[in-house]
Symmetry: C2
Amino acid sequence: MVTPVIEPVARLIEAFARLPGIGPKTAQRLTYHLLRAPDAEARTLAGALVAVRDQVVFCDRCFNISDQPLCPICRDPGRDETRLCVVEEPLDVLAIERTGEFRGRYHVLHGAISPIDGIGPDRLRVRELLERADQAARNGAPFVEVIMATNPTLEGEATAMYLAERLDSVVGTVSRIARGLPVGGDLEYADEVTLIRSFQGRRAV
Amino acid sequence: MVTPVIEPVARLIEAFARLPGIGPKTAQRLTYHLLRAPDAEARTLAGALVAVRDQVVFCDRCFNISDQPLCPICRDPGRDETRLCVVEEPLDVLAIERTGEFRGRYHVLHGAISPIDGIGPDRLRVRELLERADQAARNGAPFVEVIMATNPTLEGEATAMYLAERLDSVVGTVSRIARGLPVGGDLEYADEVTLIRSFQGRRAV
Protein backbone atom coordinates (compact mmCIF):
# COMPACT_ATOMS: atom_id res chain seq x y z
CA MET A 1 0.00 0.00 0.00
CA VAL A 2 1.03 3.59 -0.51
CA THR A 3 2.11 5.37 2.64
CA PRO A 4 0.38 8.75 2.70
CA VAL A 5 3.48 10.92 2.89
CA ILE A 6 2.60 14.35 1.57
CA GLU A 7 4.62 15.49 -1.39
CA PRO A 8 6.78 18.35 0.00
CA VAL A 9 7.73 16.11 2.93
CA ALA A 10 8.62 13.22 0.64
CA ARG A 11 10.77 15.53 -1.46
CA LEU A 12 12.73 16.82 1.53
CA ILE A 13 13.28 13.28 2.86
CA GLU A 14 14.58 12.31 -0.59
CA ALA A 15 16.89 15.32 -0.80
CA PHE A 16 18.38 14.57 2.64
CA ALA A 17 18.78 10.87 1.82
CA ARG A 18 20.90 11.78 -1.21
CA LEU A 19 23.60 13.20 1.12
CA PRO A 20 26.52 10.88 1.93
CA GLY A 21 26.08 8.98 5.20
CA ILE A 22 22.41 9.96 5.57
CA GLY A 23 20.12 6.93 5.32
CA PRO A 24 16.35 7.04 4.74
CA LYS A 25 15.56 6.83 8.49
CA THR A 26 17.88 9.72 9.35
CA ALA A 27 16.48 11.70 6.42
CA GLN A 28 12.98 11.16 7.86
CA ARG A 29 14.04 12.28 11.33
CA LEU A 30 15.76 15.41 10.01
CA THR A 31 12.69 16.29 7.95
CA TYR A 32 10.28 15.87 10.84
CA HIS A 33 12.64 17.79 13.10
CA LEU A 34 12.58 20.73 10.69
CA LEU A 35 8.80 20.56 10.49
CA ARG A 36 8.58 21.22 14.21
CA ALA A 37 11.62 23.47 14.64
CA PRO A 38 11.31 27.26 14.51
CA ASP A 39 10.71 28.48 10.97
CA ALA A 40 14.08 30.26 10.94
CA GLU A 41 16.00 26.99 11.30
CA ALA A 42 14.86 25.53 7.97
CA ARG A 43 15.17 28.89 6.20
CA THR A 44 18.67 29.51 7.56
CA LEU A 45 19.78 26.11 6.28
CA ALA A 46 18.15 26.75 2.89
CA GLY A 47 19.78 30.18 2.66
CA ALA A 48 23.18 28.81 3.63
CA LEU A 49 22.90 26.12 0.94
CA VAL A 50 22.17 28.63 -1.79
CA ALA A 51 24.85 31.04 -0.53
CA VAL A 52 27.48 28.31 -0.55
CA ARG A 53 26.78 27.58 -4.20
CA ASP A 54 26.47 31.23 -5.22
CA GLN A 55 29.46 32.60 -3.33
CA VAL A 56 31.99 29.81 -3.09
CA VAL A 57 34.54 29.19 -5.85
CA PHE A 58 37.88 27.41 -6.04
CA CYS A 59 41.02 29.47 -5.53
CA ASP A 60 42.70 30.25 -8.88
CA ARG A 61 46.10 29.35 -7.47
CA CYS A 62 45.75 26.53 -4.94
CA PHE A 63 42.19 25.23 -5.67
CA ASN A 64 41.15 25.47 -2.04
CA ILE A 65 37.60 26.76 -1.59
CA SER A 66 37.32 30.52 -1.59
CA ASP A 67 34.86 33.39 -1.83
CA GLN A 68 37.29 35.44 -3.94
CA PRO A 69 39.56 34.57 -6.89
CA LEU A 70 42.36 33.90 -4.38
CA CYS A 71 41.65 32.08 -1.10
CA PRO A 72 42.44 33.62 2.32
CA ILE A 73 45.68 31.62 2.59
CA CYS A 74 46.96 32.63 -0.87
CA ARG A 75 46.03 36.26 -0.09
CA ASP A 76 47.86 36.25 3.26
CA PRO A 77 51.27 37.99 2.76
CA GLY A 78 52.49 36.54 6.06
CA ARG A 79 52.63 32.95 4.76
CA ASP A 80 55.92 31.31 3.79
CA GLU A 81 56.09 31.41 -0.04
CA THR A 82 58.87 28.84 -0.18
CA ARG A 83 57.00 25.90 1.34
CA LEU A 84 54.07 24.14 -0.32
CA CYS A 85 51.81 21.52 1.20
CA VAL A 86 49.96 19.25 -1.25
CA VAL A 87 46.66 17.76 -0.01
CA GLU A 88 43.80 15.80 -1.53
CA GLU A 89 40.80 17.81 -0.29
CA PRO A 90 39.88 21.26 1.07
CA LEU A 91 38.94 19.57 4.38
CA ASP A 92 42.59 18.49 4.71
CA VAL A 93 43.66 22.15 4.58
CA LEU A 94 41.33 22.85 7.48
CA ALA A 95 42.71 19.95 9.49
CA ILE A 96 46.32 21.09 8.97
CA GLU A 97 45.50 24.75 9.67
CA ARG A 98 43.97 23.73 12.99
CA THR A 99 47.35 22.36 14.13
CA GLY A 100 49.10 25.69 13.50
CA GLU A 101 52.19 23.63 12.53
CA PHE A 102 52.46 24.77 8.91
CA ARG A 103 52.77 28.38 7.75
CA GLY A 104 53.41 27.89 4.03
CA ARG A 105 50.99 27.63 1.09
CA TYR A 106 48.79 24.79 -0.12
CA HIS A 107 47.85 22.99 -3.28
CA VAL A 108 44.59 21.03 -3.29
CA LEU A 109 44.54 18.12 -5.78
CA HIS A 110 40.82 17.33 -5.37
CA GLY A 111 41.42 13.62 -5.08
CA ALA A 112 44.18 11.05 -5.39
CA ILE A 113 45.41 8.95 -8.28
CA SER A 114 43.43 5.71 -8.33
CA PRO A 115 43.71 3.52 -11.44
CA ILE A 116 41.06 1.17 -10.03
CA ASP A 117 38.52 4.01 -10.02
CA GLY A 118 39.78 5.34 -13.34
CA ILE A 119 41.22 8.48 -11.73
CA GLY A 120 44.45 9.49 -13.45
CA PRO A 121 46.56 12.64 -12.90
CA ASP A 122 44.51 14.42 -15.61
CA ARG A 123 41.40 14.25 -13.38
CA LEU A 124 43.24 16.06 -10.57
CA ARG A 125 44.91 19.48 -10.22
CA VAL A 126 48.28 17.88 -11.04
CA ARG A 127 49.11 19.87 -14.16
CA GLU A 128 48.47 23.12 -12.24
CA LEU A 129 50.77 21.95 -9.43
CA LEU A 130 53.61 21.11 -11.81
CA GLU A 131 53.17 24.45 -13.60
CA ARG A 132 53.17 26.27 -10.29
CA ALA A 133 56.47 24.63 -9.28
CA ASP A 134 57.99 25.26 -12.74
CA GLN A 135 56.93 28.89 -12.66
CA ALA A 136 58.47 29.42 -9.22
CA ALA A 137 61.75 27.87 -10.41
CA ARG A 138 61.75 30.01 -13.56
CA ASN A 139 61.16 33.10 -11.40
CA GLY A 140 64.35 32.22 -9.50
CA ALA A 141 62.43 31.40 -6.31
CA PRO A 142 61.84 27.65 -6.44
CA PHE A 143 59.97 25.99 -3.61
CA VAL A 144 62.44 25.08 -0.86
CA GLU A 145 60.16 22.21 0.17
CA VAL A 146 57.03 20.57 -1.12
CA ILE A 147 55.31 18.48 1.57
CA MET A 148 53.15 15.62 0.34
CA ALA A 149 50.25 15.53 2.80
CA THR A 150 48.03 13.19 0.81
CA ASN A 151 46.23 10.50 2.83
CA PRO A 152 48.28 7.53 4.13
CA THR A 153 46.32 5.18 1.88
CA LEU A 154 47.42 3.24 -1.19
CA GLU A 155 46.08 6.00 -3.45
CA GLY A 156 47.58 8.79 -1.36
CA GLU A 157 51.00 7.09 -1.30
CA ALA A 158 50.90 6.47 -5.04
CA THR A 159 49.98 10.09 -5.67
CA ALA A 160 52.82 11.31 -3.44
CA MET A 161 55.34 9.07 -5.23
CA TYR A 162 54.08 10.12 -8.66
CA LEU A 163 54.32 13.83 -7.80
CA ALA A 164 57.69 13.49 -6.02
CA GLU A 165 59.28 12.09 -9.19
CA ARG A 166 57.91 14.90 -11.32
CA LEU A 167 58.73 17.70 -8.88
CA ASP A 168 62.20 16.51 -7.91
CA SER A 169 64.09 18.54 -10.53
CA VAL A 170 62.32 21.88 -9.95
CA VAL A 171 62.02 22.10 -6.16
CA GLY A 172 64.48 21.91 -3.29
CA THR A 173 63.10 18.95 -1.35
CA VAL A 174 60.01 16.82 -1.68
CA SER A 175 58.97 15.44 1.71
CA ARG A 176 56.20 13.16 2.94
CA ILE A 177 54.38 13.57 6.26
CA ALA A 178 55.44 10.85 8.71
CA ARG A 179 53.40 7.67 9.09
CA GLY A 180 52.40 8.76 12.55
CA LEU A 181 48.96 8.71 11.00
CA PRO A 182 47.28 5.34 11.26
CA VAL A 183 47.78 3.65 7.86
CA GLY A 184 44.53 3.15 5.95
CA GLY A 185 42.94 6.06 7.81
CA ASP A 186 41.75 9.43 6.60
CA LEU A 187 43.75 12.60 7.21
CA GLU A 188 40.82 14.81 8.11
CA TYR A 189 39.93 12.61 11.11
CA ALA A 190 43.41 12.62 12.64
CA ASP A 191 43.78 14.28 16.03
CA GLU A 192 45.95 17.36 16.15
CA VAL A 193 48.83 15.77 18.07
CA THR A 194 49.12 12.94 15.52
CA LEU A 195 49.08 15.48 12.73
CA ILE A 196 51.79 17.57 14.41
CA ARG A 197 53.93 14.41 14.80
CA SER A 198 53.46 13.69 11.14
CA PHE A 199 54.62 17.15 10.19
CA GLN A 200 57.62 17.06 12.50
CA GLY A 201 58.66 13.56 11.42
CA ARG A 202 58.55 14.23 7.69
CA ARG A 203 61.51 12.92 5.62
CA ALA A 204 62.92 13.59 2.18
CA VAL A 205 61.42 11.27 -0.42
CA MET B 1 44.66 30.62 15.78
CA VAL B 2 41.70 31.25 13.50
CA THR B 3 41.08 28.56 10.92
CA PRO B 4 40.54 30.29 7.58
CA VAL B 5 37.08 28.90 6.85
CA ILE B 6 35.33 31.25 4.48
CA GLU B 7 32.09 32.70 5.76
CA PRO B 8 29.38 31.05 3.58
CA VAL B 9 31.02 27.67 4.24
CA ALA B 10 31.17 28.30 7.99
CA ARG B 11 27.50 29.28 7.99
CA LEU B 12 26.42 26.09 6.19
CA ILE B 13 28.51 23.91 8.52
CA GLU B 14 26.86 25.66 11.47
CA ALA B 15 23.36 25.22 10.03
CA PHE B 16 23.93 21.48 9.47
CA ALA B 17 25.45 21.04 12.93
CA ARG B 18 22.26 22.44 14.49
CA LEU B 19 20.32 19.41 13.20
CA PRO B 20 19.77 16.55 15.66
CA GLY B 21 22.38 13.78 15.39
CA ILE B 22 24.65 15.82 13.10
CA GLY B 23 27.98 16.62 14.79
CA PRO B 24 30.48 19.23 13.62
CA LYS B 25 32.55 16.66 11.65
CA THR B 26 29.51 15.35 9.78
CA ALA B 27 28.35 18.92 9.16
CA GLN B 28 31.75 19.64 7.61
CA ARG B 29 31.61 16.57 5.40
CA LEU B 30 28.08 17.37 4.19
CA THR B 31 29.09 20.95 3.41
CA TYR B 32 32.17 19.92 1.42
CA HIS B 33 30.16 17.26 -0.35
CA LEU B 34 27.65 19.89 -1.50
CA LEU B 35 30.47 22.18 -2.64
CA ARG B 36 31.62 19.52 -5.07
CA ALA B 37 28.26 17.97 -5.97
CA PRO B 38 26.27 19.13 -9.01
CA ASP B 39 24.73 22.54 -8.43
CA ALA B 40 21.21 21.09 -8.59
CA GLU B 41 21.79 18.93 -5.51
CA ALA B 42 22.25 21.86 -3.12
CA ARG B 43 19.46 23.86 -4.77
CA THR B 44 17.02 20.94 -4.66
CA LEU B 45 17.67 20.53 -0.95
CA ALA B 46 17.27 24.28 -0.36
CA GLY B 47 14.04 24.34 -2.35
CA ALA B 48 12.67 21.31 -0.51
CA LEU B 49 13.43 22.97 2.84
CA VAL B 50 11.55 26.14 1.95
CA ALA B 51 8.65 24.18 0.40
CA VAL B 52 8.26 22.06 3.51
CA ARG B 53 7.87 25.17 5.67
CA ASP B 54 5.65 27.01 3.17
CA GLN B 55 3.35 24.14 2.26
CA VAL B 56 3.18 21.86 5.26
CA VAL B 57 0.68 22.49 8.06
CA PHE B 58 -0.83 20.34 10.80
CA CYS B 59 -4.16 18.67 10.10
CA ASP B 60 -7.02 20.58 11.79
CA ARG B 61 -8.53 17.33 13.06
CA CYS B 62 -5.76 14.85 13.87
CA PHE B 63 -2.63 17.12 13.93
CA ASN B 64 -0.74 14.87 11.55
CA ILE B 65 1.31 16.80 8.99
CA SER B 66 -0.64 17.85 5.93
CA ASP B 67 -0.55 20.08 2.89
CA GLN B 68 -4.25 20.90 3.24
CA PRO B 69 -6.48 21.79 6.24
CA LEU B 70 -7.29 18.06 6.54
CA CYS B 71 -4.58 15.42 6.09
CA PRO B 72 -4.83 12.63 3.47
CA ILE B 73 -5.99 10.12 6.10
CA CYS B 74 -8.73 12.40 7.51
CA ARG B 75 -9.85 13.16 3.94
CA ASP B 76 -10.02 9.48 2.96
CA PRO B 77 -13.71 8.39 3.11
CA GLY B 78 -12.64 4.74 3.07
CA ARG B 79 -11.12 4.85 6.57
CA ASP B 80 -12.95 3.38 9.56
CA GLU B 81 -14.48 6.36 11.45
CA THR B 82 -15.11 4.30 14.58
CA ARG B 83 -11.51 3.44 15.43
CA LEU B 84 -8.93 5.96 16.55
CA CYS B 85 -5.21 5.40 17.00
CA VAL B 86 -3.40 7.83 19.31
CA VAL B 87 0.32 8.35 18.64
CA GLU B 88 3.04 10.69 19.86
CA GLU B 89 4.53 11.86 16.55
CA PRO B 90 3.72 12.12 12.83
CA LEU B 91 6.54 9.61 12.17
CA ASP B 92 4.58 7.05 14.19
CA VAL B 93 1.63 7.42 11.79
CA LEU B 94 3.98 6.59 8.93
CA ALA B 95 5.33 3.52 10.72
CA ILE B 96 1.82 2.19 11.42
CA GLU B 97 0.58 2.97 7.91
CA ARG B 98 3.45 0.94 6.48
CA THR B 99 2.13 -2.17 8.23
CA GLY B 100 -1.31 -1.86 6.58
CA GLU B 101 -2.75 -3.30 9.84
CA PHE B 102 -4.87 -0.32 10.87
CA ARG B 103 -7.57 1.29 8.73
CA GLY B 104 -9.06 3.79 11.19
CA ARG B 105 -8.16 7.40 11.96
CA TYR B 106 -5.31 8.91 13.96
CA HIS B 107 -4.70 11.53 16.60
CA VAL B 108 -1.16 12.89 16.92
CA LEU B 109 -0.34 14.20 20.42
CA HIS B 110 3.01 15.77 19.46
CA GLY B 111 4.82 14.32 22.44
CA ALA B 112 4.12 12.42 25.65
CA ILE B 113 3.39 13.54 29.18
CA SER B 114 6.71 13.91 31.00
CA PRO B 115 6.67 15.72 34.36
CA ILE B 116 10.48 15.52 34.52
CA ASP B 117 10.72 17.60 31.34
CA GLY B 118 7.87 19.87 32.40
CA ILE B 119 5.57 18.51 29.69
CA GLY B 120 2.00 18.29 30.96
CA PRO B 121 -1.18 17.44 29.00
CA ASP B 122 -1.62 21.16 28.19
CA ARG B 123 1.56 21.08 26.07
CA LEU B 124 0.15 18.25 23.94
CA ARG B 125 -2.93 17.85 21.71
CA VAL B 126 -4.79 16.21 24.61
CA ARG B 127 -7.64 18.74 24.92
CA GLU B 128 -8.36 18.32 21.20
CA LEU B 129 -8.41 14.52 21.56
CA LEU B 130 -10.88 14.63 24.46
CA GLU B 131 -13.09 17.10 22.59
CA ARG B 132 -12.98 14.89 19.51
CA ALA B 133 -14.11 11.84 21.53
CA ASP B 134 -16.81 13.92 23.30
CA GLN B 135 -18.07 15.31 20.02
CA ALA B 136 -18.29 11.85 18.47
CA ALA B 137 -20.26 10.59 21.50
CA ARG B 138 -22.60 13.62 21.38
CA ASN B 139 -23.19 12.95 17.68
CA GLY B 140 -24.40 9.46 18.59
CA ALA B 141 -21.37 7.81 16.93
CA PRO B 142 -18.84 7.33 19.75
CA PHE B 143 -15.51 5.72 18.93
CA VAL B 144 -15.84 1.94 19.20
CA GLU B 145 -12.16 1.70 20.07
CA VAL B 146 -9.34 4.10 20.85
CA ILE B 147 -5.94 2.41 20.51
CA MET B 148 -3.13 3.92 22.55
CA ALA B 149 -0.06 3.58 20.31
CA THR B 150 2.22 5.84 22.32
CA ASN B 151 5.79 4.59 22.75
CA PRO B 152 6.44 1.71 25.21
CA THR B 153 8.46 4.07 27.42
CA LEU B 154 7.69 5.43 30.88
CA GLU B 155 6.29 8.61 29.35
CA GLY B 156 4.31 6.78 26.68
CA GLU B 157 2.78 4.42 29.24
CA ALA B 158 1.90 7.29 31.56
CA THR B 159 0.29 9.17 28.68
CA ALA B 160 -1.72 6.09 27.67
CA MET B 161 -2.94 5.55 31.25
CA TYR B 162 -3.80 9.24 31.67
CA LEU B 163 -5.82 9.32 28.43
CA ALA B 164 -7.49 5.94 29.06
CA GLU B 165 -8.98 7.22 32.33
CA ARG B 166 -10.32 10.37 30.68
CA LEU B 167 -11.68 8.62 27.58
CA ASP B 168 -13.21 5.63 29.33
CA SER B 169 -16.69 7.16 29.73
CA VAL B 170 -17.10 8.47 26.17
CA VAL B 171 -15.67 5.67 24.00
CA GLY B 172 -16.38 1.96 23.63
CA THR B 173 -12.97 0.50 24.48
CA VAL B 174 -9.60 1.98 25.17
CA SER B 175 -6.84 -0.45 24.18
CA ARG B 176 -3.07 -0.45 24.32
CA ILE B 177 -0.77 -1.96 21.66
CA ALA B 178 0.85 -5.15 22.97
CA ARG B 179 4.31 -5.10 24.52
CA GLY B 180 5.65 -6.98 21.55
CA LEU B 181 7.66 -3.83 21.12
CA PRO B 182 10.94 -3.87 23.04
CA VAL B 183 10.33 -1.84 26.21
CA GLY B 184 12.37 1.38 26.34
CA GLY B 185 12.50 1.48 22.55
CA ASP B 186 11.04 3.89 20.07
CA LEU B 187 7.96 3.03 18.02
CA GLU B 188 9.17 4.49 14.75
CA TYR B 189 12.14 2.09 14.64
CA ALA B 190 10.12 -1.09 15.16
CA ASP B 191 10.09 -3.58 12.30
CA GLU B 192 6.75 -4.15 10.63
CA VAL B 193 6.19 -7.67 11.98
CA THR B 194 6.72 -6.50 15.57
CA LEU B 195 4.31 -3.64 14.96
CA ILE B 196 1.70 -6.00 13.49
CA ARG B 197 2.05 -8.29 16.57
CA SER B 198 1.55 -5.28 18.77
CA PHE B 199 -1.64 -4.35 16.99
CA GLN B 200 -2.99 -7.88 17.01
CA GLY B 201 -2.11 -8.47 20.69
CA ARG B 202 -3.75 -5.26 21.97
CA ARG B 203 -5.91 -5.58 25.12
CA ALA B 204 -8.57 -3.48 26.82
CA VAL B 205 -7.02 -1.12 29.38
